[in-house]
């Protein structure tokens, strides 16, 4: 897509959208949002970048292929589910730190699970869309 306005805007939108996606990821435990929505927003940022620049350019920006994020995300989620098991608690029990961390708030295993979902969503969406766009080029 050859549009100077969009091209200029997307370079500024990319970091803003990424920051916003992390904000959505973190607020998800008490307010609407979470890993899935956050992941979608983050992938929209990269998709917008690939529209205006090029899929190859976005892949270079990412450094790693988005496909590699899928097992990492799944692993993070599965581990957060499995950690209570090692302590003899039922699987998926929410474990929380007592003291809230500044800015982020309370941190628990649910946040780690959501982080995994966030990574999986980015990985899946970008893999699917980039495969289609590279195939059609």
């Amino acid at each position: 897509m050859k549009s100077t306005i969009l091209k200029t805007a997307s370079s500024y939108l990319l970091p803003i959208l990424l920051l916003f996606s992390i904000f959505i990821l973190l607020r998800g435990h008490y307010l609407p949002g979470g890993g899935f929505v956050g992941g979608l927003i983050a992938s929209i940022a990269f998709v917008l970048h690939s529209f205006t620049h090029d899929t190859e350019a976005t892949l270079q920006l990412l450094r790693i292929h988005p496909r590699a994020l899928i097992p990492v995300g799944l692993g993070v989620s599965a581990l957060s589910m499995f950690v209570p098991f090692l302590g003899g608690l039922p699987v998926m029990t929410g474990l929380w730190f007592d003291e809230p961390v500044p800015v982020i708030g309370l941190i628990g295993s649910a946040l780690v699970f959501d982080l995994g979902v966030y990574l999986v969503v980015i990985g899946v969406v970008l893999t699917v869309l980039f495969t289609i766009s590279q195939y059609s080029e």
């Binding site: 899928i70 599965a78 003899g88 029990t93 929410g94």
Partner: protein
Amino acid sequence: MTSNAVVLPFIVHLFTAILLLFFWRKTVAQRIISVMGSTLALTVAIGLFSSVWNDGILTMQAAGWAAPFGISFVADVFSSSMVLLTSFSGLAVAVYSATGISRGRMLFGYFPMFHFLLMGLNGAYLTGDIFNLYVWFEVIIIASFVLMSLGGRKAQIEGSVKYMAMNILASTFFLTGIGILYGITGSLNIADLSLKVGAMENRKLVDMTAIFFIVGFGIKSAVFPLYFWLPSSYHTPPSAVAAIFGGLLTKVGIYALFRIFTLIFVPDDFLSNLLIVLAVLTVLTGTFGAVIKNNIRRLLSYLIVCHIGFMVGGLGMYSEVALAGALFYLFHDMMVKTNIFLIAGLIRKLRGTMNMDKIGGLYAEYPLLSLLMAVVLFSLVGIPPLSGFWPKIYLFEAGFMDHHYALVAAIIIGSFATLYVIAKMWAKVFWKSQPEGIAGVEDGFRPMSNFRRSLLVGPIVFLAAITLFIGLGAEHIVTVVNHIVREMKDTSPYIQAVLEMHVSP
């Protein structure tokens, strides 16, 4: 008793699948990890079965939310023995896949999907929550769509479209049934539903809800009249995949039928007659299909349909003897059907085709292999004292006791047709000499190294040994089966274990 061991069988497959995703495109590492993961899962399953057998029903409330509000996972003897048999099949197919699956398929994620499928199966067996059961069914069908269409040949895509359409329809019926059930009882926990549905006064409404589950699970386990997707799709994927599908996927539908129709909807006259009529028609249609087919795998697909009818009929009769027969048949069928599709794959390796008119002379060329296959084929037919024989005795006895003569006749016709079909296959594939001058027939087995050959034959030997044990050590299986039937008839231990309260029987 609460124990975290309940969830281990599917956690093991989950982590194996994730580990396999890290080794994307490294096919040698994937083969090793898959076999190791399956072995670990088998160890876990044996451990789970022995602790359930010794200590009674084990439960685990996910995240510590008490039943009936959270999701319960329950391992009783029925579910843990299904997990055990699935792990046997899983290990055999994992080893077989190491040479039986082309490298191209492995590059596109065959092994991770295989383990996600096994995870879904184990989850479906172990869950104690009906919506969670639906979720596991979704995990199973998503993984099976990928396995079925992986490779992208035209016939495969055609088969997977039929498979997908029918399975999505089945899921819709199942989900609608869950919705209605939740609407009338306000609960999703199977143990809690058992109490609440049992106390319902409007039995017509309960029967109507049950129909949704019969249709949903009926499509999944290929019961008449919704069986046709199975024979038109199961012959398309590679044999290792077909083995998992034929041995395990239709059986998870049967498992769900047994679970739902002993715990939630206890068959009354209406449901019982409905199930028996469906069973008779299923056996007959499967029989007619199997008799006319000439391709080995198509023929076996119709035999699956035929034998599904035996189990549904056993459930329909709903006496203790009938349930014991149906469960015994289920255990025997899981092992034999997995094995027979692996054998079909081996025959394809030996001859390059599965058309019975084009092949022959296997007995002259490979006498030992033929003998091994004969054991499995005869078990499928049920020649005494092999494993298919004992459950049929139970089913006949139950049929005569309760005067279900149509079902008895159908089972006799089904058994004879199985005998006829297998005898035809034996004569054509093994005894007839190889027809001359047929293009495309080549032996892909002889040039293989000894190691690769043993990877193909080993799983068949392993499963044949289990089948022999089921046949020759039938008294052990009968002990297990009778225990399960007692738990099905008197569900209070299950309900008590899940809800952690005392229930008067």
